[in-house]
């Protein structure tokens, strides 16, 4: 009983914080429209939206407020699920209705996009999700339904004039090409750093001299800002391709994708070597001794004991390297590489907010999706004995 009261109080504080953020979001401009992609924006605050949209937006905060006063915990949880789902759906609906009305008399190139108020609103909603101890399947189903609904709205043309979707349509097949290039550059550099890094980590584990050489070099490499590592390779690679024309036929020269891939794989070496080494040296010596006592020879110890136990740590290293490389691959554009960085820096050059946002959102989506996929893979590969230990 006592514990119950404590948990209810805990919910109340977080609800108060979320409500405060909702309140802040109503004082900020909610959405903005432009006559064309680079012209000055007109912002519209939430108060001047009209009675219908305001009521729609108030739905989520009101439902969550009601849920805080309901003593029955099951019903309160159900209400908070409903509130969170509405919190995502209603701003999207308001965005499309008000936005379409706004751009109707602004000409053929007009567009609308969300402004700071809507971002704060969505942050408040995400607190509703984050404050739960563990995401329930009900929440996931609700979220999935809202997503389906939003995609359906997109199909019937309700988001046709949304800034980032207009940019995506203007880019057409180029968008797919850049996404694929981004994935390819990341994949190739990750593969290179795995092929080089994992054996080095094994050598460092076996041989102390290798360890003394490798780790100081990696530490120095890590302090060089990512943006600089790209540039430092221009001159050496240009000189190399001048000296050996064969290399230029393979695409290795001062600018382009090759130096980007080299720099990215150098940068990804650190997490891969670190994690692999740590997971190898972190294996309990008792386990190895027990294996020796059972009469295993050194090959068997590696195959049956060390490798299976280290696999999870190595996969974690690859995951960290993957997330980092996906982000850094944005900078490849600066030395003439492809990938989503092309969109971002073109957008920055043209001061086109929507294009920058499109590129960045795609990069973040790629990062989150690949992170989740890898997490799933790691869960599959975790030996049953380790899972039991964690509990």
């Amino acid at each position: 009983m006592n514990r119950n009261i404590l948990q209810r109080r805990a919910l109340d504080k977080q609800v108060a914080f979320a409500l405060f953020l909702f309140l802040v979001s109503f004082t900020l401009p909610f959405l903005q429209s432009r006559e064309n992609r680079i012209s000055e924006e007109f912002t519209v605050s939430a108060f001047s939206l009209g009675i219908g949209p305001i009521l729609l937006l108030l739905l989520a905060p009101l439902v969550i407020l009601t849920s805080a006063f309901i003593p029955n915990r099951k019903r309160a949880a159900l209400l908070s699920t409903v509130a969170a789902a509405f919190g995502i759906f209603s701003p999207l609906l308001v965005l499309s209705i008000v936005g379409n009305a706004l751009v109707a008399d602004l000409g053929a190139f007009a567009r609308y996009s969300p402004a700071s108020g809507m971002y704060v609103y969505l942050a408040a909603v995400s607190i509703l999700y984050l404050m739960k101890q563990k995401a329930q399947s009900r929440d996931k189903v609700a979220l999935f339904l809202v997503m389906l609904l939003a995609i359906g709205m997109g199909f019937i043309g309700m988001f046709d004039r949304l800034g980032i979707l207009l940019e995506a349509r203007n880019l057409g097949t180029r968008l797919w090409r850049e996404i694929l290039a981004h994935v390819r550059i990341t994949g190739v550099s990750l593969l290179i750093s795995m092929v080089i890094g994992i054996p080095i980590a094994f050598l460092a584990f076996i041989n102390k001299a290798v360890r003394r050489v490798v780790f100081p070099i990696l530490n120095v490499l890590q302090t060089i800002p990512g943006i600089a590592l790209f540039g430092l390779l221009i001159a050496p690679l240009a000189a190399l391709s001048m000296a050996f024309p064969v290399l230029r036929e393979w695409g290795i020269q001062g600018i382009g994708n090759a130096p980007a891939i080299i720099a990215l794989s150098m940068y990804a070496l650190y997490p891969i070597i670190r994690y692999t080494y740590t997971s190898l040296s972190g294996i309990d010596e008792q386990v190895v001794l027990a294996a020796k006592g059972m009469g295993m020879n050194s090959t068997q110890i590696w195959k049956i004991v060390r490798l299976p136990l280290a696999t999870v740590g190595i996969l974690h290293g690859i995951r960290v390297a993957l997330v980092q490389t996906l982000g850094n691959a944005t900078l490849a554009k600066l030395i003439g590489g492809d990938g989503l960085g092309v969109l971002v820096f073109e957008g920055l050059g043209q001061a086109s907010v929507d294009m920058v946002l499109l590129g960045m959102l795609l990069i973040i989506a790629l990062t989150v999706i690949s992170d989740r996929l890898f997490q799933f893979l790691i869960n599959v590969f975790t030996p049953a004995s380790l899972i039991r230990e964690e509990r």
Binding site: Q14, Q133, I234, A238, N328, T330, L331, L348, T367, V368
Partner: protein
Amino acid sequence: MRLYKRSASPNHVIRRWIPLILITAGLVLYITSSALQTTILSFLFPGETQFTHSRKTILQMTGAHITLTIAATVLSSVFGIFIGILVTRKAGREFQQLVLKLNAFIQTFPPSAVIILAFPVLGFGWKPALLALFLYSLFPVLGNTVVGFNSVSPAAIDAAKGMGMTWFQQLHIAELPQAFPMIITGIRHSYILNLGTAAIAAVIGGEGLGTIIISGLTLRNSALVLSGTIVISMLAFIGEQLFALLSWKQTSHGDRTEKQANMSKKEK
């Protein structure tokens, strides 16, 4: 645990101070004399003709870079420690899960994304750059502060309560010394992060050493890139050394060290 093993022998002091002084002297010489820059860079890159930025000197850019980095680090330290203390007290404990989850989520964001996303939301200039750096580097400090205070042994808190300490005394006499190494690690991480990310800030109008690096990239001139990188690397080294000195001084503080060593032994 490594921190406690160091003793204050003069040998250690020399080994810590000499590289720090040498690198600082080198940095000051390099950023003030353009003749030195040209000599070094023309030796390394004989093919290039331009060795300095056309509009700004290295000194100006270094000044802007240091200002941006230190401002962001100080801001994130103050706010990070404050919020960290808040969520580890009884009154704010409910928000701890939220903070830790947010921390894990923000870590998956690449630094370049944070800087570049500041442009659609906040526009061009050094203010958006500072805000983006602050928000991004807040989380290492915040996360480490929370972990540091959570790892304080309950026995020490009980003892402090038993001695009749007030809330504030308990915080800064009993808990802070034990959480301090962890917090310093967080601030150091935030400083190094800011130093590198401030270079990217040049693309949204932050006027740091990123300016010369990016103009080197667009002109395909490695010498310019190296010139900016040398300074950033030296700044990183100096920062690392200073933070190492700070945590070393703190932990070598006589009886406090002994107490901590005993406590960690008992835990084992």
